[in-house]
């Protein structure tokens, strides 16, 4: 496509800068950027640069991940209300950021609930406060920069938020080092912002190209192509064009669509690559073929251009390595108030209403509710004559919080013949290590072994380290590999633990070479299908898992199962004791 030379060079490291520039041009249409990577000079420089592209007067608010509703959404300003004798609103961070930028450090720690509140504000452009006797709407049109410092694939910002942020940049991957090209210019961005409204809407052919690219990448949400269009528009404005051309769309596809890719377009997948969740083989040819005769001749060209742009931007690990980025992501390990076990505790966690009772040290008073409780008695207590509100002990309303509770780690050990004797010993050693760790953190452990025709629970959830160790050392080996039965047993036990109010992490130690189906019959193909189905159910149930591959030479099978169950994968040979501990501790992180 012979387009005019772009204003900004399009190198790997510069994509982060370009994303920041486009975001500053159209913050409402693009909503924001999720920047992944631990604190680093490159990230800090980028954040400062991104901030510098906005006008100096822009309000910028930091949003700590553990923020409470009162500060996030707003509530009643009690001091001012009492002084004024009428309710005075205290604006929260979202309303304060109206017209500006919300910066979220450690965004992977954000709770799902907080993510949903942010998402609602992004969708509506306002916050709705129905709190403390107040019912107001405050404008809150802001952009978000989420600094995602997660390390594991399942540590990431809430999906509801991630879905709405147009761009994802990754400072951990080598492609995103410090920007080498010239940094985007604040003046150019400001000029582009003014030009944005005058950019003509995208033509139907470009819209179709984007939708097609999104479909090929397995992106179901309509937001992906819509945000890609907004990005294309911003890019056209940056380049000083009045009209969106194919190059703008290609850049948008690379920046918006490629980082979200869930499947790989057919011809790109190497022979040995694992099957993507939705096989795109025929899809691709059909859609292109179907579109061909009906549409104008440039259409396939645009579509191809967009798809080529996406293809070039797809991370290499997507096709070969066990890098989890970009593929069907495992269920997110939720932040502090995620779904799962929760218990009432007085001091910390997510707020859950108020209770009356004595105020003990460390308890936090809910002032509005306390005042409410005190008000009906004011006349009796003579409060109105003195002009002061009389509050008695029985009026105290104490905030209640919900906190995550105990955790259980289930070890599911493959004791079949295919797991060689020596490997079984190593697996046992690894389990012992983790048992010791579990003991320290006062977690419950359970042991499931599968061999021969089925699986059995050797040790129901317990805190007894000694029992666990004894059972483990007595574990015999040999026989077939009924992996499906093992996963099923883990699912049943883990579900029971969850029902009991605990969190349950299943740790599989197997080589993943299933050869006994659920019905007990041998046969590799059926056994594998059964095991994959079982793994998918584990994932569906939202139960976290870790897959430690015990085979001599790790093959893609293990990774495939790990993916199917939405768990983390690590080959045991390459993992030393500390690495295993880190993996399991991370996966079982209770909050």
């Amino acid at each position: 496509m012979g387009a005019a030379p772009s204003a900004t060079p399009l190198g790997g490291p510069d994509d982060a800068s370009l994303a920041a520039a486009l975001f500053a041009i159209d913050p409402i249409g693009l909503s924001g950027i999720s920047a992944r990577g631990g604190p680093s000079p490159a990230r800090d420089a980028w954040t400062a640069m991104a901030r510098g592209l906005w006008p100096a007067s822009t309000p910028v608010r930091r949003l700590p991940p553990g923020i409470e509703d009162e500060r996030l959404l707003g509530g009643m300003d009690l001091g001012a209300s009492l002084a004024a004798g009428r309710p005075v609103i205290q604006r929260g961070v979202l309303a304060e950021s109206d017209g500006g930028l919300v910066l979220i450090p450690m965004a992977e720690r954000l709770s799902d609930g907080c993510g949903a509140r942010l998402a609602a504000a992004l969708d509506d452009g306002e916050v709705r406060i129905e709190r403390d006797g107040l019912a107001v709407r405050l404008p809150a049109r802001f952009g978000v920069i989420a600094l995602d410092e997660g390390v594991a694939a399942d540590e990431r910002p809430p999906n509801a938020l991630l879905e709405r942020l147009a761009f994802r940049v990754d400072f951990d991957s080598c492609e995103c080092g410090p920007a080498s090209g010239p940094a985007p210019d604040g003046r150019a961005v400001a000029a582009a912002r003014r030009r944005l409204a005058r950019v003509a809407p995208a033509g139907d052919d470009l819209i179709e190209a984007l939708c097609q690219a999104a479909e090929l990448l397995g992106l179901g949400s309509a937001r992906a192509p819509l945000m890609a269009m907004a990005a294309a528009r911003a890019h056209a404005a940056l380049a000083g064009r009045r009209r969106i051309v194919a190059e703008d769309v290609a850049v948008a596809a690379r920046l918006v669509l490629a980082p979200r890719a869930l499947t790989v377009p057919a011809e790109m997948a190497p022979e040995e690559a694992e099957a993507p969740p939705e096989p795109p083989h025929d899809d691709h040819d059909e859609t292109l073929a179907a579109a061909d005769p009906a549409e104008r001749t440039e259409m396939p060209t645009d579509a191809e251009l967009v798809i080529a742009a996406v293809r070039a931007a797809l991370p290499e690990g997507l096709l070969t390595g066990p890098g989890l980025e970009g593929r069907a992501p495992p269920p997110r390990r939720a932040g502090p108030s995620g779904a799962g076990a929760a218990a009432k505790s007085a001091r910390r966690g997510t707020p859950a209403g108020a209770r009356s009772g004595p105020l003990r040290p460390g308890d936090r008073l809910n002032l509005v509710e306390t005042l409410r409780a005190a008000t009906p008695w004011q006349k009796l207590r003579g409060g109105s004559s003195t002009g002061r509100v009389q509050v008695r002990k029985q009026d105290f309303r104490i905030r209640r919080f919900v906190r995550r509770t105990e955790s259980t780690t289930l070890f599911v050990v493959d004791a079949s013949g295919s797991t060689a004797f020596q490997r079984l010993a190593e697996a046992k050693g690894a389990v012992e290590l983790m048992l010791a760790k579990a003991y320290v953190s006062r977690a419950h452990v359970a042991l499931i072994a599968f061999r021969g025709a089925g699986a059995s629970v050797l040790l129901p959830p317990t805190r007894s380290l000694a029992r666990a160790r004894r059972q483990l050392s007595e574990l015999p080996g040999g026989g077939g590999t009924p992996l499906a039965a093992g996963i099923d047993a883990a699912l049943v036990l883990a579900s029971a633990e969850v029902a009991r109010g605990r969190t349950a992490l299943s740790v599989f130690l197997t080589d993943g070479r299933a050869n006994i189906g659920r019905d007990g019959a041998s046969g590799r193909a059926a056994a594998e299908a059964d095991a994959l189905a079982a793994a998918a159910r584990l994932r569906q149930a939202g139960l976290p898992s870790v897959f430690l591959d015990t085979s001599q030479r790790p093959r893609p099978d293990g990774d495939r199962f790990a993916q199917a169950m939405g768990g983390r994968y690590a080959p045991l040979p390459y993992a030393d004791a500390d690495a295993i501990l880190g993996l399991v501790a991370g996966g079982g992180r209770a909050c």
């Binding site: 129905e130 006797g133 179907a290 859950a352 009906p376 004011q378």
Partner: protein, 344 residues
């Protein structure tokens, strides 16, 4: 307040649209739960429905906009309808049917209503300040991401939705007011399941998926883009389609009571529920009500087996008992049972 996207311009999602229209026709259906992928237009559809709902007649001066006829004498004590003289009804007015959005982070006092703090502090009087439940009376209450709502609020909502009455006992107040509303919840199953005992309180449950067809997806994006660029013009373009759907709801409401349900259809619904092992009688009743509403929406005089087949999945999907190891999804089981009972 942002302009809502027009209901009739939503591409596909027939199941969800039908469920919402059923609820608009027969508010006694027991609420609708919408599960679905991100970006599939769940919230859009619910907010769009608000514009279609026919207006209602409400008693002037009543905090609960109660119905001058059916709520007469049952509203709170300070409602003007209680002070009527002789046979004269309290004056009434026409107003829009409320569609109340319950935002996450709402506190209990705003949901159920509480003591009016300002009034109490300044005037020294106890006064009840109605909450969101009062505002939603005779309309819809919508909760996006219902699975993220705090448990104690969800319990409270379901209780009120089932009884049609909000009972407030707090801070020396004792207030009872009508709160009949259609509860609409939406959520993403990835974010955590709803408790089963909560799920089967919803009358209908629909799953929405993003359209699989490329041309549909292109149409979704095109329309949304056109709407975002110029909402007013987009609305004007769809005004006549909207009017048609609005008229359909009004006509269906008028016809609803007269739609006949032959015994054979009732029997078919019961057999279906037995075949799939749905607990309780709620399944049959919901199928019947929903099928009747569909017949009314389509201008037919009586319910047929075809109506039952259309509504059975949304009425039963969430009522099946499922073990953690169950193979097939609920939909497959319902489909199989229907194929066996009614033929393919």
């Amino acid at each position: 307040m942002r302009i809502a996207y027009p209901f009739s311009a939503i591409v596909g999602q027939e199941d969800m649209k039908l469920a919402l229209l059923i609820a608009a026709t027969d508010s006694g259906i027991g609420g609708v739960m919408v599960f679905g992928d991100r970006g599939s237009g769940k919230s859009t559809a619910v907010r769009a429905l608000a514009a279609l709902l026919p207006p209602l007649t409400a008693t002037i001066g009543c905090a609960f906009h109660c119905d001058p006829v059916s709520d007469a004498g049952r509203c709170t004590e300070d409602c003007p309808s209680r002070r009527r003289v002789g046979r004269r009804r309290a004056p009434s007015e026409t107003r829009a049917t409320p569609v109340v959005d319950l935002p996450l982070g709402a506190t209990e006092d705003r949901v159920v209503g509480a003591l009016d703090l300002e009034h109490a502090l300044t005037k020294g009087e106890k006064r009840f300040e109605p909450g969101l439940l009062a505002r939603a009376h005779r309309g819809f209450l919508y909760i996006d991401e219902v699975n993220l709502l705090e448990d104690h609020l969800v319990d409270l909502l379901l209780d009120v939705a089932a009884s049609g009455e909000n009972l407030v006992e707090r801070e020396g107040l004792s207030v009872r007011h009508p709160a009949k509303f259609v509860l609409i919840g939406s959520g993403n199953p990835e974010e955590g399941d709803l408790r089963p005992q909560l799920l089967d309180r919803f009358g209908l449950s629909v799953d929405v998926r993003t359209p699989r067809d490329l041309s549909d997806r292109v149409e979704v994006v095109k329309r949304r883009d056109a709407f975002d660029r110029d909402p007013g013009a987009f609305l004007a373009r769809w005004a006549s389609d909207e009017a048609v759907v609005g008229a359909r709801i009004i006509a269906a409401r008028a016809r609803l009571a007269a739609v006949a349900a032959p015994d054979s259809v009732l029997e078919a619904a019961s057999r279906l529920c037995l075949a799939i092992g749905a607990d309780g009688l709620r399944g049959e009743l919901t199928i019947l009500r929903a099928a009747r509403a569909v017949a009314a929406l389509e201008g037919e005089e009586s319910v047929t087996q075809a109506h039952v087949r259309r509504v059975a999945p949304m009425a039963l999907r969430h009522r099946l008992r499922r073990g953690p190891l169950d193979e097939a999804g609920s939909d497959a089981r319902i489909d199989r049972a229907m194929a066996e009972l009614f033929g393919a």
